[in-house]
């Protein structure tokens, strides 16, 4: 076996923070090589150096025996390195074809859209992506956008493909498909670097695994030698992993539901029905987990409740009060708070600092009674209290929030939204993109919030998570509530059938038992 990629002594500092400290790494040709580590371990930074986004302060990169001088993404791409970022580098207003054409080096002066369309269809068919080349990207779900990124790399002739937490945007059943794609790409001669913090995924698809911690390499193990417990001990070091069991609270009977949705209908961005007569309710102190494959109306459901998306018909009662046709501000005042799907863009002002973002929805720090003056010192001390509580690592609190990693932004927005009491919390994929440790903190915070009496609508694609912390699980399929189960009584298969088929019939049960 030959070393395809050799990183030697890569170091990168941001101010006082050493993101990468003397990292050395060898990656074999036609391997799937996983980079494993917690948020802030330096995985993304390292890969951005390899892709030419950051310049390393020290170190060398050798690809296929040649020393590379990577000073820009262009140089990196010319060397055959391609990257699928965590937040996709696609232009929403452009079509798939236009986005792909942007990344191609050998398009003529006049862009031959027909040929590009044909090539896209060919790759899309080969891997069963089902991508419509003439669709605008803003109309497509995140899972499809990832496939566009893969098509892009294949068409641009990359040989080394870097995936930065690719599974964080995928539904459970899509993850397996992605690993299948990895495998086919590897057989076609590609080398893959797979950044993740999910052990089962890494074990499922990698040939070799390297663990990073605190910006340094802890070690590399080949798949055959890797076990879950070995990897966990490498990732967390001497910390003990907190695998606390989540105590489930009993729900008092005969209480008024906080949220009562009846026969709600709404349309999606493409003006197609997204919610079709959906009904549900949540009691105070209850977590209703919403399971479903991405794009079955989960996003729209939350948006209608928040008042962001208009409802066509039906009713939404919050604490007995009808909230359809009231303003977003009114709904917020009534006690609805939300942790959005894309926290950086929907829940924060990217250019504002961490402190300012935390102060945005926090009335207490503005309560300097003279002239609505901001009390910045109070806001600042609250900000540092928050960051400590949620275990955030960041150089300073006055950095623009967009400079932080996705996981950190997620936690900041989460911290902010949970800081004030509310009747109803809408949580979209709250642990998506977080490492084990951070996800645990977020889940405990959710349970704590529930125990304070809030009703929580938890939209998630992580079935383990739904089973672990929901009091009730509802399955959405084609904009409808196709069934509710108590986690203690249901099994994953049942929910899986409901998610993919919209029904769970006795025949399927027989099949399931027989298999």
């Amino acid at each position: 076996m030959t070393d395809f990629l050799v990183l030697d002594g890569i170091t990168k500092r941001f101010g006082n923070l050493v993101a990468n400290d003397q990292i050395s790494l060898r990656i074999q040709k036609q391997h799937v090589h996983a980079l494993l580590g917690e948020n802030g371990a330096g995985k993304s930074t390292l890969m951005k150096i390899l892709y030419g986004v950051y310049k390393p302060d020290a170190g060398t990169i050798t690809l296929d025996g040649k020393l590379l001088n990577i000073h820009s993404p262009q140089a990196s791409r010319a060397a055959g390195i391609g990257m699928v970022f965590q937040s996709f580098m696609l232009i929403p207003a452009f079509t798939v074809i236009e986005n792909i054409a942007l990344s191609l080096r050998d398009v003529g002066i006049v862009v031959d859209e027909k040929k590009i369309e044909h090539d896209i269809r060919e790759i899309s068919d080969k891997y069963r992506f089902g991508i419509e080349p003439r669709a605008k990207v803003w109309q497509l779900p995140l899972g499809a956008q990832q496939k566009i990124e893969i098509i892009k790399l294949v068409m641009a002739g990359a040989r080394l493909l870097i995936f930065d937490e690719p599974t964080s945007v995928l539904a459970p059943h899509e993850v397996e498909g992605l690993f299948d794609i990895f495998n086919r790409l590897r057989l076609d001669g590609y080398t893959i670097i797979f950044i993740s913090h999910k052990l089962n995924e890494v074990l499922a698809c990698s040939d070799e695994i390297t663990v990073l911690r605190g910006g340094r390499v802890v070690g590399s193990v080949v798949r055959a030698d890797a076990t879950e417990s070995l990897l966990v001990s490498m990732i967390v070091g001497d910390k003990t992993a907190d695998s606390s069991t989540y105590a489930r609270k009993s729900i008092p009977a005969n209480v008024e539901p906080v949220l009562q949705v009846r026969d709600l209908c709404a349309k999606d961005d493409r003006n197609r029905p997204a919610l079709e007569n959906i009904s549900l309710h949540i009691l105070p102190g209850e977590i209703l987990g919403v399971a479903g494959v991405s794009g079955n109306g989960q996003k729209e459901l939350g948006e209608v409740i928040q008042g962001v998306r208009p409802a066509l018909s039906g009713s939404i009662k919050l604490a007995g009060q009808e909230i359809i046709h009231t303003s977003i501000a009114q709904i917020r005042r009534t006690g609805v708070t939300c942790v959005p799907e894309d926290p950086l863009r929907q829940g924060a002002v990217p250019v504002m600092s961490v402190e300012e973002n935390l102060a945005l929805s926090d009335a207490s720090s503005t309560q300097q009674r003279d002239w609505q003056r901001m009390n910045w010192s109070a806001a600042r001390s609250r900000a540092s209290w928050f960051t400590e509580k949620f275990g955030l690592k960041m150089p300073r609190l006055n950095v623009a929030i967009e400079a932080l990693s996705g996981g950190n932004v997620q936690r900041i927005v989460f911290a902010r939204e949970l800081s004030a009491p509310a009747k109803l919390l809408l949580a979209y994929y709250p642990t998506r993109g977080l490492d084990i440790h951070a996800a645990e903190i977020v889940r405990l915070a959710l349970l704590d919030y529930r125990d304070q009496g809030a009703a929580i609508l938890l939209i998630s694609e992580d079935l383990d998570e739904l089973f672990a912390i929901s009091d009730r699980i509802m399955v959405m399929y084609h904009g409808q509530n196709v069934g509710e189960r108590l986690p203690a009584e249901a099994d994953v298969q049942q929910i899986g059938y409901l998610m993919t088929d919209g029904k769970y019939t006795p025949e399927q049960e027989v099949e399931h038992v027989a298999s």
């Binding site: 986004v53 820009s72 993404p73 262009q74 791409r77 580098m89 696609l90 232009i91 929403p92 207003a93 452009f94 236009e98 054409a101 942007l102 990344s103 398009v107 003529g108 002066i109 006049v110 862009v111 859209e113």
Partner: protein, 306 residues
């Protein structure tokens, strides 16, 4: 007057009057597609009108004048490019400054030329086509620069939507980081587009002084540069729709002139207001719809990373 003749005069005038605004609108459309708006287009038009006129007086050549006018507009806009792209200045502030700079500078250097006479560009009827009744005079009896302006509409459309360069340019206006990460230089592309926008405004100004009026007077564009910036929004950042907007504006100007010659009993001040009121009304109706078409990076300050 014969109503057919009246309509023919109004439409002929519409094409003539629209030309300076059309050049500028097309240039600003390209310009804004990279996310940089240039409120100084008015200043660039004045530079084009003034420098074009001076060069024509000095050399006797309208063509040299038009080229010089375009370059003058382009060079002035590079100042905007420097302030906005290199220094990270606010686009509105920088653009307005540029407008006043152009106004002052041309008043200064153009003073000796105010009462001068030039030949400039004459009407060049296109053989055969110009003899078609009604259509001929409206479309095919104009000066060369006017023909050029209308030929530029499909050319710029093709450039923006069918070529690699147009794709890069639009990408910069939608996402500088995406353009950068696919190996493009957003600053350079924005510079080129700002220069082009300035050149087109300069050419529009030159058409005004060399072909439309054949004279130079201080502040002669009378806000046409601002109308052009508004028409970019009306055209939803699309060159063909922008041309339609420019023609509508030209039609309003032409109608106003024709009504005045007929001696219609309406205040001339009201009639002169007409094109601006019309533009405003159109913007009111279109504003909401045009938001979706707006380049995502429009107006965003350039930072060092992007």
């Amino acid at each position: 007057m014969d109503p057919i003749m009246f309509i023919q005069f109004v439409l002929t005038g519409a094409f003539r009057s629209a030309t300076p605004v059309l050049f500028t609108t097309l240039g600003q459309t390209v310009n804004e597609k990279t996310g940089v708006a240039n409120l100084g287009a008015e200043g660039c038009m004045l530079m084009g009108a003034c420098v074009g006129f001076i060069v024509t007086v000095q050399t006797g050549s309208g063509w040299l004048g038009a080229i010089a006018g375009a370059l003058a507009g382009g060079v002035l806009s590079l100042l905007h490019g420097y302030l906005v792209i290199n220094c990270g200045a606010n686009q509105l502030a920088s653009g307005l400054t540029l407008m006043f700079l152009g106004l002052g500078l041309t008043a200064l250097i153009g003073r000796p030329y105010v009462s001068q006479q030039i030949t400039g560009f004459d009407v060049v009827p296109i053989p055969i086509l110009s003899d078609i009744p009604f259509i001929g005079p409206i479309l095919f009896r104009h000066d060369v620069l006017t023909y050029l302006a209308y030929l530029l509409v499909p050319a710029i459309w093709f450039f923006l939507y069918r070529t690699r360069w147009g794709l890069s340019l639009r990408a910069v206006g939608e996402s500088r980081i995406a353009a950068f990460s696919t190996g493009r230089n957003p600053a350079l592309i924005a510079y080129a587009a700002v220069f082009f926008g300035g050149m087109m405004a300069g050419l529009g100004g030159a058409q005004l002084s060399l072909a439309y009026t054949h004279f130079w007077v201080e502040g002669m564009t009378q806000g046409a540069g601002f109308i052009a910036v508004a028409l970019v929004i009306f055209g939803m950042w699309h060159p063909v729709r922008a041309a339609a907007g420019a023609l509508l504006y030209g039609g309003a100007v032409s109608l106003q002139l024709q009504l005045q010659t007929l001696g219609v009993g309406i205040s001339p001040f009201f009639l002169q207001m007409l094109p601006y009121v019309l533009t405003l009304a159109i913007l009111l109706v279109w504003a909401r719809a045009s938001n979706r078409a707006m380049p995502a990076e429009l107006g965003r300050v350039f930072t060092r990373q992007t």
